[in-house]
């Protein structure tokens, strides 16, 4: 029977359809980002969970120099360990016929026959080891695809300094390499890095590891998973004679860490975005509802006079918000599913899963619709409550017009009388509709913060790349050597074709200890006055390498709770594992890894070495021919473990990070546009409707539609520029919050906003205002103002 009022509701909805669409769009984007990001999160979570259990993903990884397998048996008795698997793991160099450049890779041992080991592999093509041939390899699928390596073909690997021709049995993926980056790198590079699974016996022979291993992975008992650190500590202790380089729990394992950071980011955005959009939607709805109820004051009064009770009237108007919530929510779900599809496809290029699908999550959608309804209803509440609180007699009376009241500013006569009358109109209108003005400002602030955030993502990424590749790592090639060689090898490297400058590095993996804190890491010995690796502070200032003592990355210093001037102990994972001490001379910044630097000779001296070299950095000035022969020669140097071309690395990092970021940033700017348009259209169209008569008067006085429009345009510029500027710090603050999600031991994202971003945000906001004004102007131009004059308000 309430149908009659519903018919009225329908007319109300139709009458305000333009405004409604604007609000619904904002709601849809809010719920859309909620559904989209949570669905993507769930897609990743489901894919990860099933992949981890399918591969029997380890709970921890131990890298060590060499330990007898018999030792594993002892470890298995440790409390908290459920199962262990030992492996042999070595860096390899791939010598492909179709590539003149040597390529880095990782060789991992696998059992000869397929069985359900920890960190098992999933075959993608070909077969597991056939065992017909001794020299067999299974290649990581992404690398095989990128390099066009087919099962049944042969590839050359340089294993332990000798080139071996291996039969490719198949290609495979593994859950420990969902995200695969070369050691020291932070992005995956399918063309430049691969994993090569070799039969254990084969590796034993090649690397001389009979009855020994250098990598242990294990699964913890369910209870021990909550304090894996404790178990890892115990493992560390019982393996201390075998040189443990690193003991990594699952949560810090690079692939898992990267995936988790991404998922964490998604979760944050899945709360932040909807909160921002739905708040704006609620605010805009508040403006709209206040207007509608104000317009229908007499109707409400009449209904009350007729004895219709407040609840019925309340329900009637709340349905308006309900409608916005439901339609916005449902369209948001559709949009969200589409966003999830897009993001899931994007993630597929980063993360390798056997099956990452975009699923439908009815629960998420239901929650999304509920949230959107709640926000929309809250948005309608204030306007409805206000009108309902009036007693019927009051409601039926025309409201006492506020338009005659002077605004505070008018008391400042000197200023006021000097203002152009159009500015007087604008200021009056802004101050008289205080809550509408405020809401316009808040919406603009949120919109602009979103633009800042979008640009800030890209800026921060650029900054990280810039810092790392143009300020810290200045070499063209990094060679890492198998054993610590002597200075001679370094002198030789200078003679390679086209090399203009070379610097040696002495890397010493070690455990740092301070008070109760300890952390695995590495000290890099750089020659004094090194030009190819320059430690720096975050502001870009270079920090000279002290003749004695260490430079330590801030994050490492925090781990160890140490500050400048204090002394840290460290135990190198080499030689006789004595404890050494060194002073932390300065704290520096690094965006990748937990670097610690020392003087090359000081470090050598400290460890009782004479000019040991573990890595070589090269600066080149090569002709293409020189480059080819350079790589050819590198392939023949037996002690080289990996070769990195920095330019290529930079290109890959740039392409991968900024590529993905730009997509996200574009989407966010579109979202911001929705906020700006929605809020401006709503506010202005309502303002126009209210000021029909004022506009008509102007037209009668001979003003053109354009000139009248300018008044509204100026009003919007004032409101939106104030909001946009207020949104700038808000955006920065959000960026800092977002980026802290992406800070871990492997890399730390800076939160950087370039000055041009502030400018761009203001320019974009201005464009949005002008764009919205174009629609407003059309509305003003087609207004029948002659009728407005004779109309009774």
């Amino acid at each position: 029977m309430v149908k009659i009022l519903d018919r009225k509701l329908l007319r109300d909805l139709l009458r305000t359809k333009g405004l409604l669409i604007a609000v619904i769009m904002i709601v849809a984007v809010g719920t859309g980002s909620f559904v989209g990001m949570l669905s993507t999160y769930d897609n990743l979570l489901i894919a990860r969970t099933s992949y981890y259990s399918r591969c029997r993903m380890a709970d921890f990884w131990i890298d060590l120099k060499k330990a007898p397998i018999s030792e594993i048996k002892n470890l298995e008795t440790l409390k908290g360990i459920s199962e262990l698997r030992e492996r042999i793991s070595f860096p390899v160099i791939v010598d492909l016929e179709n590539s003149n450049k040597p390529i880095n890779g990782l060789a991992l041992s696998m059992p000869a026959g397929p069985c359900s080991v920890i960190n098992n592999i999933v075959m993608k093509s070909g077969s597991y080891f056939t065992n017909d041939i001794r020299d067999e390899v299974i290649v990581s699928d992404k690398f095989a695809l990128a390099r066009n390596i087919q099962p049944g073909s042969f590839i050359n690997l340089i294993l332990n300094g000798t080139k071996k021709k291996l039969y490719v049995a198949g290609t495979a993926i593994s859950s420990e390499h969902i995200y695969l980056a070369p050691p020291g790198g932070i992005v995956d590079n399918p063309l430049g890095y691969g994993v090569f699974y070799l039969k254990r016996e084969y590796m034993e022979d090649v690397f001389g590891f009979h009855g020994a291993c250098n990598n242990i992975v294990g699964i913890l008992t369910p209870k021990a998973r909550y304090n894996s650190e404790q178990v890892l500590d115990n493992i560390n202790k019982s393996l201390k004679d075998y040189g443990v380089y690193a003991a990594t729990p699952l949560k810090l394992q690079f692939s898992n860490l990267t995936l988790s950071a991404e998922m964490g980011g998604l979760q944050t955005m899945a709360t932040m975005f909807p909160a921002m959009f739905l708040s704006v939607a609620a605010l805009v709805l508040n403006v709209l509802m206040t207007r509608i109820t104000e317009q229908q004051r007499t109707i409400v009064g009449t209904l009350k006079a007729l004895g219709i009770n407040n609840m019925t009237i309340f329900n009637h108007f709340i349905k308006y918000g309900l409608f916005v919530g439901v339609t916005g929510g449902i369209s948001g779900c559709i949009l969200g599913h589409w966003i999830a599809a897009w993001m899931t496809v994007m993630y597929k290029t980063f993360f390798e899963f056997p099956n990452l699908l975009n699923e439908l999550y009815p629960n998420t959608m239901l929650i999304a619709i509920l949230i959107s309804i709640v926000f929309s209803v809250i948005g309608t509440l204030r306007g409805v409550r206000r009108i309902i609180r009036l007693n019927p007699a009051e409601a039926m009376r025309e409201p006492t017009p506020t338009s005659c009241e002077n605004i505070l500013l008018e008391r400042w006569t000197r200023l006021w009388t000097n203002l152009d009358f159009r500015w007087q109109i604008i200021l009056r209108s802004l101050f008289r509709n205080k809550s509408r003005t405020l809401i316009g400002i808040v919406a603009a602030a949120i919109g602009s913060s979103m633009v800042v955030l979008a640009f800030g993502f890209v800026n921060s990424m650029d900054e990280m790349i810039e810092f790392q590749f143009s300020k810290v790592m200045l070499s063209d090639y990094n060679l890492s050597l198998k054993d610590d060689l002597n200075y001679g090898a370094f002198i030789e490297s200078k003679k390679l074709p086209g090399i203009s400058h070379a610097e040696p590095i002495f890397n010493v993996p070690c455990t740092f200890i301070n008070k109760n804190y300890h952390k695995k890491g590495m000290i890099s010995g750089l020659i004094s006055g090194a030009k190819l690796t320059i430690p720096r502070r975050a502001n870009g200032d270079s920090v000279p390498i002290p003749p004695v003592g260490l430079l330590m990355t801030k994050r490492m210093a925090q781990h160890l709770d140490i500050s400048e001037g204090q002394t840290v102990s460290f135990v190198p994972v080499r030689g006789e594992r004595k404890t050494y001490e060194a002073k932390v001379v300065s704290i520096i910044d690094s965006m990748i890894g937990l670097s610690v630097y020392a003087d090359f000779h000081y470090l050598n001296y400290l460890l009782g070495e004479t000019s040991a070299v573990s890595d070589i950095q090269l600066k080149s000035n090569q002709t293409p021919e020189q480059k080819i022969s350079f790589f050819k020669q590198l392939k023949t140097i037996p002690n080289i473990q990996s070769i990195d071309e920095i330019k290529v690395q930079k290109k890959i990092v740039t392409k991968q990070f900024t590529g993905a970021m730009q997509g996200t940033a574009f989407m966010m700017i579109m979202f911001a546009a929705v906020i700006f348009f929605g809020s401006i259209l709503n506010g202005t169209l309502i303002s126009i409707a209210e000021r029909h008569r004022e506009i008509a008067t102007f037209r009668v006085l001979g003003y053109q539609a354009m000139e009248v429009g300018t008044i509204f345009l100026r009003e919007n510029i004032v409101v939106n520029m104030i909001g946009t500027i207020a949104g700038l710090p808000l955006g920065y603050w959000l960026l800092v919050g977002m980026m802290s999600q992406f800070c871990n031991d492997a890399y730390s994202m800076p939160s950087v906003v370039y000055p041009s971003t502030w400018l761009w945000t203001i320019i974009l906001a201005m464009l949005f205002v002008l764009g919205a004004h174009w629609i407003v102007q059309k509305d003003i131009s087609k207004m029948d103002w002659s009728q407005a004059l004779s109309m009774k308000e």
Binding site: I4, L5, T302, L306, G307, N309
Partner: protein
């Protein structure tokens, strides 16, 4: 029609003043008025004398500062908002100067509006409500305009629809505020005739206020409101 002379509306020592700026302007200064069932009372008074204020207070639309209003047996300002709304809905019918029809609804829907939105003591089916609406449309002579929107009706027709709306729940008391204020002579006459007829034929109690002593076919008890006090003429 009946000889029972029960009091249907009892206004006791009602005071009401409005704040205008910082000044308190008294409008009703201790007003007493008793209306018996079946009476027809006309309250005349110049513009601004407080007629509408009185009518609103009498009908439960506006709270008095002091005093009581009793409709039937209920002291309406001691009731909750909800109960007061219920009394307005079931016992009182309003006719306003500006008709106050809902512009989106046609004549028929406007008429049945008060009957279908609230629960009633006298439970009626949809059919009954519709039958009564048709009866009322016939009574006001607008059967053929049932599906017209207010904007498609003349002022007089709108006021007659508003009157029918006031009658849909068979109220005991009709409060009419300048029912002819916006109508020309002829249209006004037909509305007044409708109201007087109701009083005579159905015994509906009427309280009509107007600033116009030339109101056609004056009858019943005539009072005048001046300076916040009621005087009998």
């Amino acid at each position: 029609m009946s000889n029972v002379t029960e009091t249907i509306l009892d206004i006791k020592r009602v005071r009401k003043s409005y704040k205008i700026g910082r000044k308190n302007v008294p409008v009703l200064k201790g007003m007493d008025l008793k209306i018996l069932q079946g009476e027809c009372v006309l309250l005349l008074g110049p513009s601004g004398s407080g007629k509408s204020t009185l009518l609103h207070i009498a009908g439960g639309l506006d709270k008095p500062d002091e005093g009581h209003v009793i409709i039937g047996k209920e002291n309406i300002y001691q009731l909750t908002d909800r109960k007061r709304a219920h009394i307005r809905n079931s016992k009182v019918g309003f006719v306003f100067q500006f008709y106050n029809l809902l512009p989106d609804l046609n004549a028929f829907d406007n008429i049945i509006l008060p009957a279908i939105l609230e629960k009633h003591d006298k439970m009626r089916s949809k059919k009954e409500v519709e039958n009564r609406a048709f009866y009322l449309l016939e009574l006001i002579g607008l059967v053929d305009r049932a599906s017209h929107k207010p904007s498609e009706l003349s002022g007089g027709e709108q006021q007659r629809v508003a009157t029918a709306r006031a009658l849909i729940n068979e109220p005991e008391l009709i409060l009419a505020d300048e029912p002819t204020g916006n109508l020309d002579r002829e249209a006004g006459d037909s509305v007044m005739e409708l109201l007087f007829n109701l009083n005579e034929k159905n015994g509906t109690t009427l309280l009509i206020v107007s600033h116009n002593p030339q109101l056609s076919g004056l009858r019943g008890r005539i009072l005048s409101l001046d300076n916040g006090i009621i005087e009998h003429i």
